[in-house]
Symmetry: C2
Subunit: 512 residues, 2 copies
């Protein structure tokens, strides 16, 4: 058994079921080892950002890491943006990166580069193997790290000779760090704060946004009058079907400052302290008010749900009454972010997974999605655009019995459109709605916020996606995904219904 | 004047004429400064790898750096693969990367990351500015570094507050390191080696592959009987129109070892010592024979042309007779790499720029291109695929009076297909020929070389680009570039002739 086989068998025996791959010459022994391992599925991406974004989506939905298989430094680099998002999502991912043979590194051949320097900013674990006999053990350590609490991106650099040379067999994977139980003192401090009568907010992130956390938080809020918000770009939220509706902290800092003003207590539950997404002149980084006391009930590595339940129990908080919100009707007439959002909420099937990278076009859906049937939302955690199509792809691989709805801004979608081809090849049940406003609209807003009321021709050209207009129907066709363009609400509704009733991917270009 | 204006004016006054941009919120003051600076053109790319690859192509053709404008760590990361190629090409590039405001870095907002760690592996100069008053000076230093001998990739990280705060005016750019003159001793040692009578080879790279270097090398070879080769992936070569024909060192190490065997002397002229592109079992890293003496006549930072001319003069070598090779006729019949290459060589206009990322499909053109009219070839220097379409785009911006021919493998083209949109928006005279063999053919070859004679279904799936077939005509249409598909030689010739006779971009999908 060679090193590659020992590594792939180690991961497969430990339950790694999928590898999102874009291999090259230095990964050929790993490709052969995948060929020989029936327990691991290999999914080809035509660009590495597709592989890493898909692994992120898969990890968020299953709680288990997929592997990626990437080609040296430059190939890995193409996957960094989506690994940045995965890191911010605390998603489990195991990257396998081939490298030059150990004895060939010194030759500084054309593809040689400093992979550790590239990988470190997005990885919670980085290791370069230096002999075949260690490859399985290093892979096991990477997997254990990825599965730790909180989950992380683990990167293993596997030189080609360590793959092809003889090695021992597969090895067992060491246990991972489990979520930390939150101590009674911490629970008690939160209870005391919430009982103080001062205005309070629970800010939820990470696992607190799954169903048990939402119920416990809603019970606490109902019993104490505390507000309850989620962080601005949560990795995964359960929503709809009568689940407690938790608004997101607003994106722009002046709005977030308003929401956070006058709080006596801010309780962080799996979320970090709220900070501005970007710094602006005369606006602070940290958004909580000076007089607000900040309590960390649970970090992302803690058992946030048990902590919330303990707080609810200590408060004697009964379950909050279920919100009953009427589902919006299918809209008619002109298409805009509002009617687009109502169309999706009106028609989405029960149990959908909604990948939201709609940027400014998503505001309408956010207003009504709580009234839709139960679904899961995946967010743009790290702000690195180009997450949506790959992450939707990985979520669909993870959950073949659920419809994935990819709400996609057109500008952001262009970064990783190659994901559509993987959706076609794997016949994934993904409905992509490209919100085609033909602009980097958020940048036009930001230009205005920066005081540039009347941008000149260059600033306009750098924020405009027209001239020529992108033709997403043709792009999807080129990648093997059936597609249609709509500019009326009733047409969007018809095409959504058609897509939801048939298997496989479909793209709808919604011209806004 | 704010920091952004002081930086952009500094670069514009020093002759930086183009900025390939994909900005975000943290770059808005730089966008506004570009708006106010008539001397610098702003070209939008819809993916950062387009911007960096275009800057590489622009730098190779003009010898002067373009700027790029990129968005924090994740945006920059999307440009790394093509900067890796630029680094290997010794191409001049100045990257401007916005970052969080200096006082906002500590908040670790979602897009914050370690940009220096990401940038260092591909940059000869990296600096993060920390106050507005330093931004112009840091930009001047970056530009001076990029223009040094050899040229390099220089990366400047510009925090948002350093852009928007008040600063002094533009500053002059310090002089750059000039190419080093090669000493008489070094010239003498080369002359002695070439006169020794032992078999010798000149291995040319970098500037030695421009016209004066080729003539001097050919004269030396003609006078002494030395062989003359170029490095395997040269950044830029002048070719055709009767210029001395210099073959490339073969790609596979066993073939290169054969060519290099039995040499008494190997003279490096702007090239590095030949090494294998990848390490293989039982194959050495360094390809020169044990008994061969290696002489470095010129490094890439030296004046290689003057050194070659000094050697030729010392040898009393007359100009070599011009090679007269008959131009191939336009082919007919089935399309394969051979007929594809003959079609291009038969029809390409005088003075074309050929971006060669055709991979295995390029072998036919390499055999006949010397017989074509005078042209410039750009190569895949770093092996990071996805260079072709962006680099062709930048070359077309650099040389608006020359037709660019983008010989593009289909698998590699998928990494950065967004470049076609920039070609359409800027109405660039680029003819893209997608060599559609619908496979990562080189990996199928490498699988066989690794002893995997009969790959299983997963290995086949990971090297196959079919299922579904990519439709490049639709992809080009989606990006605004007129396109056509051909599978016969005469149809390819007809479409090439049509494209060469009309302005603007065009894509031909050549099904092989």
């Amino acid at each position: 058994m060679n090193g590659a086989e020992s590594l792939i068998r180690t991961l497969a025996m430990a339950g790694v079921e999928v590898c999102f791959a874009n291999p090259g010459t230095t990964e050929m022994p790993l490709v052969a080892a995948l060929d020989a391992e029936p327990r691991m599925r290999a999914v080809l991406g035509l660009f590495e950002g597709v592989c890493t974004g898909a692994a992120d989506g898969y990890g968020r939905m299953t709680g288990q890491p997929a592997a990626t298989l990437l080609h040296l430094g430059p190939g890995f680099a193409n996957g960094i943006a989506n690994l940045h998002n995965a890191r911010r999502a605390h998603a489990p991912v195991v990257n396998l990166i081939g490298d030059q043979a150990t004895w060939h590194l010194a030759a500084d051949a054309p593809l040689t580069s400093d992979i550790v320097s590239l990988a470190s900013p997005v990885s919670g674990f980085v290791r370069a193997t230096n002999q075949a006999s260690e490859l399985a053990r290093d892979g096991a350590d990477a997997l254990a790290a990825a599965r730790g609490a909180p989950n992380c991106v683990a990167t293993l650099i596997a030189p080609a000779d360590c793959q092809w040379e003889e090695a021992g067999g597969p090895v067992p994977v060491p246990p991972s760090a489990a979520p930390q139980a939150v101590g009674a003192d911490t629970v008690g401090a939160t209870v005391e704060a919430l009982r103080s009568g001062a205005p309070a907010m629970l800010l939820l992130g990470h696992d607190a946004l799954r169903e048990p956390g939402l119920h416990a938080a809603a019970a606490i809020a109902h019993a104490t009058g505390a507000m309850c918000f989620s962080e601005n770009f949560p990795a995964r939220v359960e929503r709809g079907g009568g689940l407690p509706a938790i608004p997101k902290l607003p994106y722009f800092p002046e709005q977030a400052l308003e929401v956070l003003s006058k709080l006596g207590h801010l309780v962080l539950v799996g979320a970090g302290e709220p900070v501005a997404f970007f710094g602006y002149p005369d606006t602070p980084s940290r958004l909580a008010s000076e007089g607000t006391r900040i309590h960390t009930l649970a970090t992302p590595g803690d058992d946030a749900v048990a902590a919330l339940e303990a707080v609810a129990e200590a408060l004697g908080a009964p379950a909050a009454p279920r919100a009953a919100r009427e589902r919006p009707e299918a809209p008619e007439g002109a298409l805009d972010p509002g009617s687009l959002g109502r169309a999706v909420a009106a028609l989405q099937p029960d149990g959908a997974i909604v990948m939201d990278e709609a940027a400014t076009s998503g505001v309408g859906y956010a207003l009504v999605a709580d009234a839709a049937p139960r679904h899961t939302v995946l967010g743009l955690t790290g702000g690195a655009i180009g997450q949506g199509l790959p992450c939707a792809t990985g979520a669909a691989i993870a959950c073949p019995d659920r419809r994935v709805i990819s709400l996609q801004a057109d500008g952001s979608g262009m970064y990783t459109l190659q994901a559509l081809w993987t959706q076609a090849r794997e016949s994934l049940d993904v409905t992509t709605i490209v919100c085609a406003n033909r602009a980097y609209r958020i940048l036009q807003v930001e230009l205005a916020r920066a005081g540039i009321a009347e941008p000149g021709p260059k600033a306009r050209a750098l924020t405009d996606l027209g001239h020529p207009d992108l033709d997403w129907v043709a792009l999807a066709k080129g990648l093997g995904v059936p597609a249609v363009r709509v500019d009326r609400s009733e047409d969007l509704c018809r095409e959504l219904a058609a897509s939801f009733s048939e298997p496989g991917p479909r793209l709808i270009e919604a011209v806004l």
